[in-house]
């Protein structure tokens, strides 16, 4: 495999092609516009097309239409644009459509700012559109992982017939790192293989892709079908990573995405001072690695949990839910595009240890 130095946004575009995507729909927004700028020349090379839509509302609905063909499709955007796609996310979840969306998060609420943020955890994990649905949510912490999770995202979307969201922050999109792509790219999928795809009612009954069920019994069946998928995901699809969690670890940090990387630096530097801190990094934010986190926190040596986020505290609600009071949980976060520095986090940990 050849190593390339690539910007996260461009690597995400290339990863989609590796996953077999030939159709991409998007609207420009900082800090993810490079994906469209990359794919606008790269897709035609592989016989694909990019449509620059009139709005993110349209993008989401173009995805609905495109996914109904049975082919792999995706979009990228940033927080305010993802807000506008919530309508289509709800419809696509309800209609069991496999799509992949990437949110390169920026500061909010409102127009907010354009610098890195993790303030869309609630929106992604707890729903943002209406109705009983969930998205699979994946959180990469490096450009290589963004590529790997893109490829996984399409597989999960196809497996569960559900929308998958990748959330990274502005850093993931903007930074360049060395990255490797699969040697063999996936062939364009053949829509005729899928028994739900709209391919024309030739020698068969018409197929309908919809989220409308006026009969309450039918609607309940659809909701239960969705719920069954989510239960299966919780059983089979959780992913996480531990960093320097040992029998001496007193403080367990919970953090995701690039925030978790910054915490790795904190952990390395504190190790030199003789302070043992470990990291629990969820890679799937939904389904959350609940059992795995609980198993770590109840170990005798763990005294505290410190949740670190680029928000005023969103994932911490899941951590609290899972830990169920078994250990005290503290929080450190910065917002507005200010990335917590290793020094700030170290100060926070030293302060915790004084207690």
């Amino acid at each position: 495999m050849v190593k390339k130095l690539m910007k996260g946004n461009e690597a995400i575009g290339e990863a989609a092609i590796a996953a077999g995507v030939r159709n991409y729909f998007a609207y420009p927004i900082t800090p993810q516009s490079e994906v469209a700028e990359y794919l606008t020349w790269r897709l035609p090379e592989v016989g694909g097309t990019f449509v620059q839509a009139e709005s993110e509302v349209a993008v989401g609905n173009m995805l609905f239409g495109a996914a109904s063909t049975g082919k792999r499709v995706f979009t990228t955007s940033s927080s305010p644009g993802i807000s506008l796609m919530q309508e289509s996310l709800s419809y696509m979840a309800g209609a069991h459509l496999p799509v992949v969306l990437v949110n390169i998060m920026r500061g909010g609420p409102g127009l907010g700012g354009i610098l890195p943020s993790q303030a869309d955890y609630f929106q992604s994990v707890k729903g943002g559109g209406h109705g009983d649905y969930q998205l699979i949510v994946l959180a990469p912490s490096s450009v290589q992982e963004a590529v790997d999770l893109m490829i996984l995202a399409f597989e999960l979307a196809d497996k569960y017939l559900a929308p998958v969201m990748i959330i990274g922050d502005g850093m993931i999109g903007q930074m360049m790192e060395s990255v490797e792509f699969p040697e063999k790219y996936r062939d364009e999928s053949n829509p005729d293989e899928k028994d739900w795809a709209l391919t024309g009612a030739k020698d068969r009954k018409p197929r309908i892709v919809k989220s409308l069920f006026l009969n309450p019994e039918e609607l309940e069946i659809n909701s239960l079908t969705l719920d069954k998928k989510y239960r299966e995901m919780k059983k089979s699809e959780t992913r996480h990573e531990l960093y320097k969690v040992t029998g001496d670890t007193k403080i367990l940090i919970t953090a995701y995405g690039t925030m978790a990387r910054i915490c790795q630096t904190v952990i390395d530097e504190l190790e030199e001072e003789g302070i043992s801190v470990g990291l629990f990094r969820p890679i799937t934010l939904f389904p959350y690695p609940e059992k795995e986190l609980f198993a770590e926190v109840i170990k005798d040596n763990i005294e505290y949990i410190l949740d670190v986020e680029m928000s005023t505290g969103q994932m911490i609600e899941d951590v609290e839910r899972i830990v169920k009071g078994a250990r005290p949980i503290d929080f450190y976060g910065r917002t507005g595009g200010i990335v917590p520095s290793p020094n700030e986090i170290k100060d926070k940990i030293r302060e915790m240890l004084k207690k």
């Binding site: 130095l5 850093m171 790192e177 060395s178 910054i262 630096t265 520095s341 020094n343």
Partner: protein, 183 residues
């Protein structure tokens, strides 16, 4: 080499600071290192201050954001003002003395004056000031070899022979300057 090296390239938009940082990152990757290149980004596409950070390491890189980097190449006064004070103790500061007539005022740094624009002008193209500075930084730190750096330049900018030549000469000048200072 230290386990991890961080350097900031900072200047006006248009001074080629991003390119200099990228070339360093490509070269370090070619030599088998872990690298991260991360830009400042924003609506000020032209004329404002621009900077990028390059992190080079033998191991997996943690934080891509470096609050107190160990070295910086500053191309204009606002960049000196910003990064001069942020550098770690015992850090390395290369100052583009063609455009900056002061130093950081700190006594815990190694500061080297590089008249990058003057050298570039003498070479016949003011745009290669970034390459003079990059070469000076590489010569001062031995972070990568000049062979790999030159090879990467050919690979990334190898379209126009004339432009390539002048970039290579900018490398030589930057390198010579540091060797003279060291000697």
């Amino acid at each position: 080499m230290d386990k991890q090296i961080e350097v900031v390239f900072a200047g006006f938009g248009g001074q080629g600071v991003m390119t200099a940082g990228q070339l360093l990152a490509y070269t370090a990757m070619e030599e088998g290192k872990q690298v991260v290149w991360i830009p400042s980004y924003g609506p000020e596409m032209r004329g404002g201050t621009a900077n990028c950070t390059v992190v080079v390491s033998d191991d997996r890189i943690g934080s891509p954001i470096i609050n107190n980097p160990m070295s910086a190449c500053v191309f204009n006064r606002p960049s000196l003002d910003k990064f001069g004070s942020l550098l770690r103790k015992d850090g390395l500061l290369l100052i583009n003395s063609s455009l900056i007539d002061v130093k950081s005022g700190r006594d815990d740094l190694t500061e080297t004056l590089i008249p990058a624009n003057d050298i570039a002008l003498k070479l016949g193209n003011p745009k290669v000031a970034n390459m003079v500075m990059l070469a000076a930084y590489v010569a001062a730190t031995d972070i990568v070899s000049f062979d790999t750096l030159g090879g990467m330049l050919d690979k990334k900018m190898g379209k126009k022979k004339e432009l390539l030549d002048i970039n290579h000469r900018a490398f030589e000048e930057g390198r010579k300057l540091i060797e003279t200072i060291k000697a």
